[in-house]
Amino acid sequence: MPDRTKRDARHQPEAVRRAIRTELAADDIAKRAERAKHPRAARDPSIPVVALDHVSLGFDVPILEDISFRTLAGHTLCIVGESGTGKSTILKLILRLLVPDAGRVLIDGEDITPLSFEEALIVRQKMGMVFQGAALFDSMTVFENVAYPLREHTDLGEDEIEDRVREKLTFVDLDPDRVMEQLPSELSGGMRKRVGVARGMANNPEIMLYDEPTSGLDPLTTATITQLIMKLQRELGVTSLVVSHDIRSVFRMASQVALLQNRRIVFCGTPEEMTASEDSYIRDFLGGA
């Protein structure tokens, strides 16, 4: 793993690395100043960025029961399991698109379950989400899609927004001059996913959520997207939660893996612990995958 990290870092264009460093240094000054006033400013590294505490949810039938896990800053938690076990629902709970029937969802130690709809919109600005089908706004160009969160939530001028969009598109290995004026319908599946990542990270979120980021992609594009998620975690220190069926990708990028079975988490640990597990379901799941 460390060898691969070094190799990727060597291949990283100097311009992009410089852009990222500049961005981290300059762009977030205002945000950091804001955070400094916040009681969470002196964040204890042991406080999880995202935590679910005995969460249960059901509509007509139970969907999730007694779900608990915690993700520390800069870590990547991958949620795996059979189809229909409620993996994507967990992401919706973290985004507070859904409210649990019981338990708490904590972001930076703050329980977001009692928040109002308007308050939840503010909390969501800390997060970037990449949807299964990318969910790009099809009436907008690639540029407008990536610029959207910047226009909505920052006071950046048009020139600064364009610079930022170019940086993000370059970060996800897309040529800004080629794709910026294209509509999502003109892009391939892999390119749409990458634009989705660029849009998700446009506002420099602390947390990135991915819903099946590699589904429906060919093996090469799958590897590219996986590397992109790793790059984001490695170079920007983003905390990531990934819902995926793709075990190979999961094992490459995960710090922790949570396995869902029958609405419950039956395993939560490192990939190494998972492969070493003697549990018959885990062995069947890994064997099948």
């Binding site: 949807f131 969910a135 706004f137």
Partner: protein, 271 residues
């Protein structure tokens, strides 16, 4: 029997819940007209979509409705030797009823279905969820601009429809019936003046003719957004949402039209 009662109870609860959601959406979308951020560009874009692009269909329906109204009334009025009153009849019918209702129905068919299909597609492709995750209220971004644009453009389209309908009546009364244009327009004005005024200068017919499309605009846009945002079940669900929108909005327009007429007739003083 208890099972039947339970089913009836559940159905009634479902209907009440639907109504509640509909009115919450209506209330929020209207409240957000005055709340920041303002999506002015989206409002202008929707005004173009709802108003300018509906102009053709509204012009055609207005023109031919006025023409057929003049034609039918000329046959009846001829038996009483009263063809000079065609102008009165056409203007009263167009301004009070047919202009607003027909423009409303046309916009419900053309625009309502379009809005429902667009928002429905956005729902099934997770674009609405994406808006939410990007910290944007979908009602503020998608519903309010459409409601505001409809509130402005449906009355404008109605005025166009009324005017073109009266011109259609003029064409038939002069070409088919042989009534001089001057006399036709004099009777049109007489009709407006004879029905009384609000604040001394605004004809009562205008109040009736313009308050209705305002309500119809709200009905069309809110109904379309309600069904569009509530779409489930993929592309089939999008189709169902568009159908529900057109049917519900059309029925609501006709039913609400009756009650507004009843209300205004009791409030406004007609000569």
């Amino acid at each position: 029997m208890p099972a039947l009662l339970t089913r009836l109870n559940d159905a009634a609860k479902g209907k009440v819940l639907t109504l509640q959601e509909y009115f919450i959406l209506a209330g929020k979308s209207l409240r957000f007209i005055f709340a920041r951020p303002f999506y002015g560009q989206d409002v202008v874009q929707q005004m173009d979509e709802i108003g300018v692009k509906s102009l053709g269909i509204v012009l055609l329906t207005g023109l031919f409705t006025g023409m057929v109204l003049a034609l039918q009334s000329s046959v009846q009025l001829k038996t009483f030797g009263a063809t000079m009153y065609i102008g009165n009849l056409v203007s009263a019918s167009m301004i009070r009823e047919l202009g607003p209702v027909l423009a409303g129905l046309m916009v419900a068919g053309r625009v309502g279905s379009g809005i429902a299909a667009q928002l429905g597609s956005m729902r099934v492709t997770e674009q609405i969820d994406a808006l939410n995750t990007l910290g944007t209220d979908p009602i503020k971004k998608l519903v309010t601009p459409r409601v505001l644009a409809a509130l402005i453009m449906v009355p404008v389209l109605t005025i166009v429809s009324d005017f073109v309908g009266i011109i259609g009546g003029n064409i038939i009364s002069s070409v088919v019936v042989g009534l001089p244009s001057g006399q036709y327009w004099r009777t049109v004005w007489e009709q407006l003046a004879s029905d009384g005024f609000v604040f001394r200068y605004i004809p009562n017919d205008f109040v009736q003719g313009l308050s209705k499309p305002l309500v119809f605009g709200a009905i069309i846009s809110i109904t379309a957004c309600y069904f569009g945002l509530g779409t489930t079940g993929g592309t089939e669900g999008v189709g169902q949402s568009t159908t529900k929108t057109v049917v519900t909005a059309s029925i609501l327009i006709l039913v609400v039209d009756y009650f507004i007429t009843q209300l205004l007739l009791s409030v406004l003083t007609y000569a």
